[in-house]
Amino acid sequence: MKGQNLNNIQAAIRQGELSVTQVVNHYLAQIEDSLPLNIYIEVFAEEAKKQAQALDEKLAAGESVGKLYGSVISIKDVICYEGHQVTAASKILEGFTSQFTATALQRLLDEDAIVIGRTNCDEFAMGSANENSVYGVTPNGVNSERVAGGSSGAAAVSVQQDTCLVALGTDTGGSVRQPAGFNGVIGMKPTYGRVSRYGVIAYGSSFDQIGVLGQHMEDVGEFLLTMAGEDPMDCTSSSQPVKTESSSQGQVSFAYIDEVMNHEKLHGAIATSSHALMDRLESEGHAVSKVQFPLLKYLVPAYYVLTTAEASSNLGRYDGIRYGYRSEAADSIKNVYQKTRSEGFGSEVKRRIMLGTFVLSSGYYDAYYTKAQKVRRLVTEAIHEIFENHDFLILPTTPNVAWKIGAHQDDPVEVYLSDIYTVIANLTGIPAISLPLATDADGNPFGIQLMSKKFSEAELIAVSEMLIST
């Protein structure tokens, strides 16, 4: 069954060639084989087997089952699952068990998806390489000397290694799409507000969205749309009805950003393959046009000012008072805070908390936070303008391929800058997908991104299927 999509798995189950238990066992064996990659923080093996058995019994009895029966998923360790630990790969949440299930995950469970385990990630989803985890690095699934990408690095590898059908990650600035690109799988981030954030450990609240990683476009689309829809527990979730059918057919129009394709940091192989794809699209009768986007250089600074500001606030709750890690050395109230947070958070998280605290400080607020909000508004307007004349924006997922583990350890800004193509979608709230495009001369995969206007997931899924199938 290796590499089969959900349609094929369900067909085999219906024909009695496969059981859900066998599906689960297959993935458990794959997990066993990929142990050196450090993909999972925890595997829910026995629980998954039990759920599989119960489903098999239901199927045998002819009872009705959810539409995702036979599917097995991994969840990034920032998604709450009742009765299960969730730590955001941080020491500060050591041993913490969630009392509820994230709304989006619950919608999948209600359709009989089985969770096989929680995947490693960058601590509190802060990172682009899955190197910032208290549980250690998860290396790239294609080349283990290189980084998996981040922050949903292990989620991408969990799919790439066929340890589950799809993986749930979160995407604040590209955390689903970039590792998908680095590992040669699909990664999709929906419109901000399309999928509930309730039960997702917050990093940058006005940016975070759950995203789906998978090998097959139809699975990614199906899971994403199943999770989508308004949630009364999340005021920022949209009440717009979830559209599952694409309204555009046949020829569509693509825009590419001149400044992106001429970006000095863009890897030659990525530029070449991207241009080749655009040529192909044009030859197939689609419109492909160049647009200008002079704001490009402001994206990463604005993104980091705003997300660190929100993060500095969101992470205040990890104080050692009510749950999680508390420093043994704490002997006063001040110490409970200082020692707990100094010892409990990793260095990248502390760096971002300090950055965010700084940009919100009185005297600096307007120079940083207010200005970054203005950039965000300008970028959103500019992107909106592009979509007035074009259906899709097409651009590489990353300027480069996965770097060697440890290569940028002393240069966080260099890593931040590599988010340049993905943060557009988070700053503006639009949906985006990364599709595997090609590999460089050394066999390192990279992806191509498509973005579209808000709440046009159905169109984005349809055009992605078109692109992948040919």
Binding site: F100, C235, T236, G316, I321, R322, L360, S361
Partner: protein, 481 residues
């Protein structure tokens, strides 16, 4: 310079806990006085992954207050985060309204001698309360109770319009009455559902500039507010007299010594790093919603008082009747049911309110008699079925003791019905005259005041059933002969 050369300037920040069913940003019950940490879901505890959602009932109560204070209502409400670390603040930030408060402006009138004074409001914003830290239960540890964390608060900020401790008292009392009236809070200062910070400064009379002010935090009674303001004003005047500078600072009021002292918590040095809460999109209030709440608003106390006066109720009686909304409701229903308004008001003031105060914790909603019973009771008197004094002195306590009884039936069964049997009255009069020859002589010699004595005697003999007017008339005749 003497004390009278100074002017005291006071502005208040009053926190009012709203009596919503649930907390402002989650579904936990909003209640007071229960076991610690009973209403603490994952959201109240700020567990990872939780998000706030706005309780519309709290917004509606904010709108009601705006209507009562004559404030402008911001129809676009935004929430901001105010950051500080404290163990009873689970998220390490408080959700509040920093930039766009729900109410702007407005005013209320407070009594001031024979007239009134207007106190203006700067704004009122919504926010969530923190939990409680308890430092005196355990010698080594502090205890945290998060039941209160997330209770909806309105912070009502006045302009610096008060000029004396008495005005502070009267302002709080008026505001307290108003928020109770519109039903948004029980405004109980002892239980902390209403508390205030007093900003005090002093200046020489005639000065137009405001001097540095000091903020006395967290005052939980009207009396303490008066004491704190008076002490603080004195302290500042003394400093000014000595030519010293008044530092702007945050103070704590010690109710045992009656003094204020510096909190030393560098409150003023805090950088709260306010920024818009990304979890809460703006909450919009439509004209329709405002109109709907307006429709449900009760008549406010001062307007009700005016209405009573127009119904020929004495001003001092009207004042007593408008103290609480429950009283107004009861009174209005009684006035509906019983046409003789002066009898109804008299009954409210002399019987219902004192009884409620003495025996029912001043809570009219627990008074045992219904409006219908009270009306039936008054009707008995009105129809001459029972003597007024007998009704008040005997039937009323009996009714209270047996609240389900029908007043007419009870009157009958107790044998209290008025008797106008003139033969019987004549007999009783004759008996009283014969039994009191000395008084009769004195009366006949001109001590006419003794008539009351004879009426009383006859009344007593009639067991309160005879009409005193009739007795007096017949007595006067009998004593003359």
């Amino acid at each position: 310079m003497s004390k009278s050369d100074y002017e005291i300037i006071i502005g208040l920040e009053v926190h009012v806990q709203l009596n919503t069913k649930t907390k402002i940003f989650c579904g936990d019950q909003n209640s007071f006085g229960e076991l610690a940490n009973r209403h603490t879901s994952s959201i109240s505890l700020a567990h990872p992954g939780t998000l706030p959602r706005v309780n519309r009932e709290a917004i509606n109560k904010g709108i009601a207050l705006a209507l009562a204070l004559g404030s402008e209502i911001n129809q676009e409400n935004r929430f901001d985060r105010k950051h500080y670390f404290y163990p009873d603040l689970p998220k390490a930030y408080q959700i509040t309204q920093d930039r766009l408060p729900i109410c702007v402006g407005g005013s209320i009138d407070i009594p001031s001698g024979d007239t009134t004074r207007t106190i203006r409001f700067h704004h009122t914003h919504m926010e969530e309360d923190a939990g409680k830290s308890i430092h005196d239960l355990d010698p080594k540890n502090s205890m945290i109770d998060l039941n209160r964390a997330g209770t909806p608060l309105l912070e009502i900020v006045t302009e610096p319009d008060m000029r004396s401790a008495q005005e502070v008292h009267d302002f709080i009392a008026t505001l307290q009455q108003l928020v109770r009236y519109i039903g948004i809070s029980d405004a109980n200062m002892e239980e902390g559902s209403m508390r205030c910070d007093c900003n005090v400064s002093v200046r020489l009379k005639g000065d137009t500039q405001l001097n540095n002010r000091c903020e006395v935090k967290n005052i939980n009674s009207k009396k303490f507010a008066m004491q704190a303001v008076a002490y603080e004003a004195q302290r500042q005047i003394k400093l000014m007299e000595q030519g010293e500078h008044i530092d702007q600072q945050t103070l704590h009021f010690d109710s045992e010594t009656g003094r204020t002292s510096s909190t030393r918590d560098k409150e003023d040095a805090h950088d709260y790093r306010y920024f818009p809460d990304p979890d809460l999109p703006p909450v919009y209030i439509t004209d329709e919603e405002i109109a709907q709440i307006k429709e449900q608003m009760p008549i406010l106390p001062q307007a009700q008082k005016q209405l009573y006066i127009e119904q020929d109720i004495k001003a001092e009686h009207a004042e007593l009747l408008i103290q609480e909304r429950a009283t107004v409701t009861f009174t209005n229903e009684l006035l509906q049911a019983h046409q003789d308004s002066s009898a109804a008001v008299n009954f409210m003031i002399n019987k219902v309110l004192p009884t409620t105060k003495e025996d029912y914790h001043d809570d009219l909603t627990t008074f045992p008699l219904t409006v219908a019973q009270c009306a039936a009771f008054l009707k008995l008197i009105d129809a001459g079925k029972i003597i007024h004094s007998t009704a008040y002195q005997q039937l009323y306590p009996a009714l209270l003791a047996d609240p389900t009884a029908d007043p007419a039936a009870l009157c009958e069964s107790m044998g209290l019905s008025q008797s106008n049997d003139t033969d019987l009255i004549d007999d009783l009069i004759q008996a009283v005259i014969q039994e009191n020859p000395d008084e009769v002589k004195k009366y006949q010699k001109g001590k006419k005041g003794l008539i009351g004595f004879f009426v009383g005697k006859v009344m007593k003999e009639s067991k309160g059933k005879a009409d005193p007017k009739l007795i007096q008339q017949k007595l006067t005749e009998a004593l003359q002969s």
